[in-house]
């Protein structure tokens, strides 16, 4: 029993160590270091020795001293056995091992005899591994997007692995792609159009959605149940089946290539979910407050304006943020409706840029960074409100 659990412990922990060291090595390679071998087996056996030493030493010496001395020892041996590498790389290895040995803290010869210890070990390390894995897989493309925008096409073709940034260059040189897309590709105009469409959509959607949501939440009328179920069903229907009829009708009405046309479509497609979210919130407002308003002689309009809206500002602002994000990210309709560069939105402009194979990739990535940043900022800043909205099903995609 003890032998089994200690084997599992050694294998799993060194597997985890191998993974994070490999990720560190990959990231360092992308900084221009010339590694050609991940040396997985070497690291793995080193990990086994390290974990074994850790368990054998046990509580004989102070944890802190143990952790530091083991990390130093291992880093030196790593330094000695491996390809020549700069000191910052070794220092990174040292920090990783420090982190790793610190995670081993709760394991010793005694705890390895507990019930279900092998399952617990597996769960523990899978959790750690999972966090590293998910963070890496998710952030890596964003990282590549950002760094590529600071590189040049030629440098990347010569060495596609060197993403190191040369900070000795002047700032204008570093941010060159951004200057170029603003000056030659007219991105300031697209930013303006995208903002106008998105903010316009937010305003119009709220204008339509607040009264409708109030009626659904509070008033009794024929067809109310039908309306609230059809909101959800309409929400399920995809944009792709709307595209051809809207394209033909908008072409004939001259609404294609116009920001106004885009605004109508965005409003209509976000309305169902805006109504759905808002009515849920309106229902939670105590009815007595409204009754007081009625006593004061307010009509429905006054009640909505003076009571409902001020009380539900948090919900309204989270709906507004959502609608903004949906409109800002929207691509399908802007692809179908806009073919004149004068009325492009940001997404459409980037797609248009990529249509020309000659466009250097750093411009494409600089454009991508510009279109991504506002959404990520909004999201990070308002995360708490937005997450509760997400679970009520607001963003379609």
């Amino acid at each position: 029993m003890k032998f089994k659990s200690i084997t599992i412990f050694l294998v799993i922990s060194s597997f985890f160590l191998t993974c994070i060291l490999s990720i560190w090595k990959i990231m360092s390679t992308l900084q221009g270091l010339n590694f050609t071998n991940l040396n997985i087996t070497g690291v793995f056996f080193n990990g086994i020795i390290l974990s074994l030493l850790f368990v054998l030493i046990g509580n004989r010496i102070n944890h802190l001293i143990k952790v530091f001395s083991l990390s130093l020892l291992f880093s030196f041996s790593y330094f000695y056995f491996n390809e020549t590498s700069p000191y910052w790389y070794i220092f990174g290895v040292f920090l990783i091992i420090l982190f790793f040995t610190n995670k081993l803290k709760k394991y010793n010869t005694k705890s390895l005899t507990e019930d279900f210890i092998s399952e617990k070990i597996i769960f523990d390390f899978i959790t750690l591994f999972g966090i590293v894995f998910f963070a890496f897989v998710i952030l890596f493309p964003f990282y590549i997007m950002l760094v590529t925008s600071f590189k040049t096409q030629i440098a990347l073709l010569v060495n596609p692995l060197d993403f190191s940034l040369d900070f000795s260059k002047s700032l204008t040189e570093l941010f060159k792609s951004y200057f170029v897309i603003f000056e030659t590709y007219n991105f300031s105009r697209y930013i303006l159009i995208s903002s106008a469409v998105s903010i316009g959509t937010v305003i119009v959607t709220l204008l339509f959605a607040i009264p409708a949501a109030y009626a659904v939440a509070r008033l009794n009328f024929f067809g109310k149940n039908f309306l609230s179920t059809s909101i959800l069903i309409i929400y399920m229907f995809p944009a792709i089946v709307l595209v051809i009829p809207l394209y033909t009708v908008f072409s004939q009405l001259g609404l294609r290539n116009s920001i106004f046309g885009l605004l109508i479509v965005y409003t209509a497609t976000t309305l169902p979910v805006a109504i759905y979210m808002l009515q849920g919130y309106f229902k939670s407002i105590p009815k007595e407050i409204e009754d007081a308003g009625i006593m004061d002689g307010q009509n429905w309009f006054g009640i909505i304006l003076k009571i409902i809206i001020p009380l539900s500002l948090p919900a309204i602002s989270s709906v507004a943020l959502y609608v903004f994000m949906i409109a800002w990210n929207e691509f399908l309709f802007s692809l179908m409706f806009l073919d004149n560069p004068k009325s492009f939105t940001l997404s459409r402009a980037i797609q248009y840029l990529s249509g020309d194979a000659e466009t250097p990739r750093q411009y494409l990535m600089a454009g991508s960074v510009i279109v991504t940043l506002p959404v990520l900022f909004i999201f990070i800043y308002f995360e708490k409100y937005l997450v509760s909205g997400l679970t009520s099903g607001s963003v379609k995609g």
């Binding site: 992308l30 590694f35 071998n37 279900f116 399952e119 959790t127 966090i131 998910f134 998710i138 493309p141 590549i144 990347l156 596609p160 692995l161 993403f163 409708a212 009626a215 008033l219 009794n220 309306l227 069903i233 309409i234 229907f237 995809p238 792709i240 089946v241 709307l242 595209v243 051809i244 009829p245 809207l246 394209y247 033909t248 009708v249 072409s251 004939q252 109508i264 479509v265 409003t267 209509a268 497609t269 309305l271 990210n329 691509f331 692809l335 997404s347 980037i350 990529s354 494409l364 991508s368 991504t372 990520l376 999201f379 990070i380 995360e383 997450v387 997400l390 679970t391 963003v395 995609g397």
Partner: protein, 419 residues
């Protein structure tokens, strides 16, 4: 009293709801039905432009003192395929102007010239000239004449509203369009994309639900792919996976994991041999599915996490006392609690993946075996310019969607209502 109040309430309700309902009806519901109409018509992209009579005005002076001007109207029918009937033309001039030549088709009265040009066939072109003269011999301002735009009108058939119907589009959809492969690709993409997103969602939710430091950051980071703009993300991935200078291939080659770069988005099949058997894997489709999973597992993660956090801790404590292992706890406590939300998620993601257009379009454009039904709508409607055919494919999509919804509500709808 209460009767009038409820009447008032109803009227208010309708006034409040109506604008939103009308807008959604016009932009969302009407097109779904319009698809049915268009799908039975033989319409191409060029047909939907309504032919217009157009005139370009050119002004030239023909006398030295500028009292005589020649005005040339370059008339044409904007359409290359349709005639315009009953074309009317009208232009205005300043005071004291007479016309030296008057076309028999035209009338000049009170500073206005009105012409009746009759029918213009497709591609019709004519240079229509008139000569103006100032009665008092004074100079005519060219700019004033130029700035006045002629007004033209005419009638033409709008092929959209005629009643010629055909079944041709549907025949083409089912027989000439590789329909079976199209359907299979769509189902592979949808099914594996959905299942993958849910599996990764469960894993991520399990992780974040544990007591780890910085879990709120982790939750935020996990949602990045979902909230980021699809254009930016898809192009980043294209760059990452590029066979010539993409980071992924370069890394794999650098560390000797593969010998030569693999065109992950441009190669239809890859042969993998496992235990001596050769498997043909749909490479580009698999890559697109992975992108899909990467982008949409956050939604599943968020829903499942919300559910996990609502499970009472006492259940786990009781299991601990009974000596249950972590695996047993997951199978007997966690899983039953999240099955309902998983079935809802499966439905939602299945429908949305089924309709996914942007992701595939931006990654592969539908090439290398990644052509799904929504991509086909675009290809037929805009690349091949066959609007009718594109609509027919849309109808197929709507029908399949309705079928899914019915099956779903029959099978698991009741269970979903319980939570």
């Amino acid at each position: 009293m209460s009767n009038t109040l409820s009447k008032l309430e109803k009227r208010t309700a309708y006034t409040l709801v109506l604008p939103a309902v009308l807008l959604v009806f016009a932009i969302v519901l009407f097109p779904i039905f319009a698809n049915i109409w268009i799908s039975f018509k033989d319409i191409e992209l060029k047909d939907i432009r309504i032919p217009e009579p157009r005139a370009k005005k050119i002004v030239k002076s023909i006398s030295d003192d500028g009292s005589e001007l020649k005005v040339i109207y370059k008339l044409r029918n904007s359409s290359l395929i349709q005639e315009i009937r009953n074309v009317k033309f009208q232009d205005k001039f300043p005071k004291n102007i007479s016309l030296l030549n008057l076309d028999p088709r035209c009338n000049f009265k009170s500073k206005k010239i009105i012409c009746d040009f009759g029918n213009w066939e497709a591609k019709y072109k004519e240079n229509f000239e008139i000569i103006l003269k100032n009665i008092n011999g004074e100079k005519i301002e060219k700019e004033i004449i130029k700035s006045q735009k002629p007004i033209l009108s005419g009638k033409s058939d709008n092929p959209l509203v005629t009643t010629n119907f055909t079944l041709e589009n549907f025949k083409k959809v089912f027989y000439e369009n590789n329909f079976v492969e199209l359907l299979l690709t769509t189902f592979y993409f949808t099914f594996f994309g959905t299942v993958g997103a849910i599996i990764f969602g469960i894993l991520a939710a399990q992780l974040v639900n544990q007591n780890i430091q910085g879990r709120s950051y982790m939750r935020g980071i996990l949602l990045f792919p979902y909230v980021g703009p699809v254009v930016a993300l898809a192009y980043t991935w294209t760059l990452l996976l590029d066979p010539n200078s993409g980071t992924l291939n370069a890394l794999l080659v650098n560390f000797n994991i593969i010998e030569s770069p693999i065109n992950l988005l441009g190669q239809k099949y890859i042969t993998i041999s496992v235990l001596g058997f050769d498997f043909k894997l749909r490479l580009a489709l698999t890559t697109v599915i992975f992108f899909e999973i990467w982008r949409y597992f956050p939604l599943a993660f968020l829903f499942i996490l919300a559910r996990l956090q609502a499970i009472p801790k006492s259940l786990y404590e009781a299991a601990e006392v009974d000596g249950a292992s972590p695996v047993k706890k997951f199978i007997h406590i966690t899983l039953p609690q999240i099955t309902a939300i998983i079935s809802i998620l499966f439905m939602i993601r299945f429908i949305w993946n089924f309709n996914k257009f942007e992701d595939i379009f931006l990654l592969t454009g539908g090439a290398s075996g990644t052509r799904t039904l929504p991509i086909n709508v675009y290809q037929q409607g805009f690349a091949v310019s066959d609007i009718g055919m594109g609509s027919a494919v849309s109808i197929v999509i709507v029908m399949l969607l309705l079928a899914f919804m019915i099956i779903y509500f029959k099978l698991i709808g009741k269970k979903a209502n319980e939570i």
